[in-house]
Symmetry: C2
Subunit: 313 residues, 2 copies
Amino acid sequence: MLTCLRRELLVSEDSSTGAVTGPQTSSVSLVLAKASGRDQIRIGTAHPARQPPTSSWWHCGRGSIAQKAQRVTYCVGAILEKGMIFASDSRTNAGVDNFAKFCKMTVFERRGNRVVVLLSSGNLAGTQAVISVLTQRCTDGDAATNLLGARTMFDVVTLVSDATRDIEKRDAGYLEENNIRFNASFIVGGQIVGEPIRLFRTYAEGNFIEAGSETPFLQTGETKYGKPILDRVLTQRTPLADATKCVLVSFDSTMRSNLSVGMPIDLICYERDSFEVQWRRRFDEGDTYFTALSDEWGEGVRQVFRHLPELRW
Amino acid sequence: MLTCLRRELLVSEDSSTGAVTGPQTSSVSLVLAKASGRDQIRIGTAHPARQPPTSSWWHCGRGSIAQKAQRVTYCVGAILEKGMIFASDSRTNAGVDNFAKFCKMTVFERRGNRVVVLLSSGNLAGTQAVISVLTQRCTDGDAATNLLGARTMFDVVTLVSDATRDIEKRDAGYLEENNIRFNASFIVGGQIVGEPIRLFRTYAEGNFIEAGSETPFLQTGETKYGKPILDRVLTQRTPLADATKCVLVSFDSTMRSNLSVGMPIDLICYERDSFEVQWRRRFDEGDTYFTALSDEWGEGVRQVFRHLPELRW
């Protein structure tokens, strides 16, 4: 366990692995649609990947360049009585002078049967390769060994783990020649007919943990700035609407403190037993709702402070 | 600058440097009192160091042991129009199976002339040695070259820097033989007659930065969990009472997420141009005010969430 958690600290969209300089095609845009509406199959990023490099990565007083370069990405998965929330940022970087946007959310959906959501952290070449392998396997071979056919969510996350190890086997040696460590980890959650909703988090080594009743959320990447608000607000009984707001505020806090976590934010709210993604949203810079949420949260917090009891020295 | 910030990541109350296994006397308890009340001189920790090892350092679901062992200590200094706030935790550790409490706050005070507050981060043997050197120099030698006589706060922080480098020169080689890096850094703030209030943060290398008008607070140690709330609330115009509550909530957030930051919390609120420490408080575990503050903050935050606008998908 110590090994995994040590690795967690290294989560980053790493530079020299072709992340931003490689071809800009989206590797996960395959969509399979069967005739029956009930059995419609979708695989894809929540939104097509976009690629205008962002500017203004440096901001006075927000911490160190070295620090930021080590911790881009922020992903959260939450598991509640009524359903699940998934959210990911879209910032990647190859060094401090090359930032770009890539969607880190991938959905494998068979309406009426399953919804599986993956949120990617790690070097982009690695996570994209894992997603591509998982996607290709959905069209080849035995259904029981792909994400659209696997019997349980445990089997699903095991397949993600296997694919991660396959890519590590292929790439790690070459990366190590340049002192780069292979690093791909995922938040994996969703529901398959016959099972409750389940939420996992894989590590670069391929092992994984599952969220339990006392830990209703899992994070990857730059986790610290956004964790206190999740700790204070999220319980299993939190309504989906409140949990959605809480996750977005957690992103707002993180983005204020670490500029290498950046918009757009991809968000999915999955209602338990619906077996389809009904609510999905992308928040781009300047999004009216997100801005209002951030402003009202800030003002609300300052009001709470004014009403807290004063210290008697 | 990169070097400093890289070093910041390593801040810890380190193990094998005699931190907890060495003699348990407080090295900074010297108090000099001159006859005149106006010129009373005090040097000392905010409270005498205490030493019952704490239990229950492990808690399920709060992160990794490895991670915690790297980041104990949380200190904050804030500089506002009306004065300054200083706060430090008291947790040290020598490995994961040996936690203890040491006061990390030291005050050099000449009533009517100056108040200088130091908050220590780094390995305990190093920070204690620096404080002892600074304390001894107050009784020997040229007044202009000690903290009670120095002309400006810039001169004060330069003396802290010099003492840090002196101790590094003495110890670093011996530590490196065991792969331990010398590490002592300080938040240094206060006011000397003729100057405004000023706030600095030194690095292990001895260089330092000063807080400016756009950065009204400086942190050391486990800074991330407690930063969002400071970012949202603290501006130069924040009243001292609100800033005090904000700093305490920042500590509460940090302690919830990182168990190696621990009570007691030492707190000083310095009113500008008072040239004496009027408000000082120690919060131990179970402190009634701190518990009420934490509870009311949590409830207030949940209420703010309930009133935030709901997302329209």
